[in-house]
């Protein structure tokens, strides 16, 4: 039975990049909006 680790690493690597990228996108977008309107971004 082949180990096939390369496929596992590829799948998890892509998922990590996509999820971390989206996380970062949301954080940056929120920062940009709250910088424009500081009083409105404090609910969280």
């Amino acid at each position: 039975m082949p180990t096939n680790w390369s496929y596992v690493i590829a799948a998890y690597g892509i998922a990590a990049l996509v999820l971390a990228g989206y996380w970062r996108h949301l954080a940056r977008r929120r920062r940009a909006l709250t910088a424009r309107h500081p009083s409105r971004g404090r609910s969280a």
Partner: protein, 213 residues
């Protein structure tokens, strides 16, 4: 509160990795490549949850015309597309060593690709219309029609002869899998749901800030 949810999601994902790579055994037939299921299955279940919320938000918006429901639908739609994309990519990577091909026009794969494209269209529609009320109304109709595809995707393995295996979880019979594999799936499912809740909270907060800007 949202930040705490984010940290909880990170802890959940770390626990999921430990369960999938440390606790769960190497599967007897597929070998290590089966560990992709700890990513693939929670991704599709999270996408179902997201598109279910698009349906809920769309119906509630048409009934009440409150902007909050449209924010829920739009935010959940975006995150649903993200997780459906991950489902397709991880499934394709799993398929190559297991089935010998990256892609086949199997009913489950095809209906999932259609689901992905329908909600990409939903997001494009939201970008195309400037007037907030018109956008919310049109998007709600597409959000409701798009949800028809969710049971088609899920039951495609029962309704048609497919290469894709039948549902292991969310199926009518108890899961025919090793308990350790089942636990690893469950831990990852919870982690992905926490991550989804974090993304959704943040995305809805951003949508609210954009409306006020």
């Amino acid at each position: 509160m949202i930040r705490a949810l984010g940290w909880l999601a990170v802890l959940g994902l770390l626990a999921g990795l430990a369960a999938g790579f440390g606790y769960a055994p190497r599967e007897a037939v597929q070998g290590n490549v089966q560990r992709i299921m700890y990513l693939h299955v929670p991704s599709v279940l999270t996408a179902y949850l997201a598109f279910g919320l698009v349906l809920l938000g769309s119906v509630a918006y048409l009934a009440t015309r409150r902007a909050g429901w449209d924010r829920l639908a739009g935010s959940a739609g975006e995150i649903g597309v993200l997780f459906t994309g991950l489902t397709l990519v991880s499934g394709s990577i799993w398929g190559k060593p297991t089935w010998g091909t990256w892609w086949t026009w199997d009913a489950r794969l095809t209906s999932t690709a259609v689901l992905f494209l329908v909600y990409v269209g939903y997001l494009m529609l939201r970008q195309l219309i400037e007037d907030a009320d018109t956008r919310a109304r049109y998007a709600a109709v597409v959000g409701i029609l798009g949800a028809v595809n969710i049971p088609i995707v899920h039951f495609s393995v029962k309704w048609w002869r497919t290469l894709h295996q039948p549902s292991t979880i969310l199926g009518p019979e108890p899961a025919p899998i090793d308990p350790a594999i089942g636990i690893a799936l469950l831990v990852n499912w919870i982690a992905f749901t926490l991550l989804f809740a974090y993304f959704l909270s943040r995305r809805m907060e951003i949508a609210r800030l954009e409306e006020q800007a």
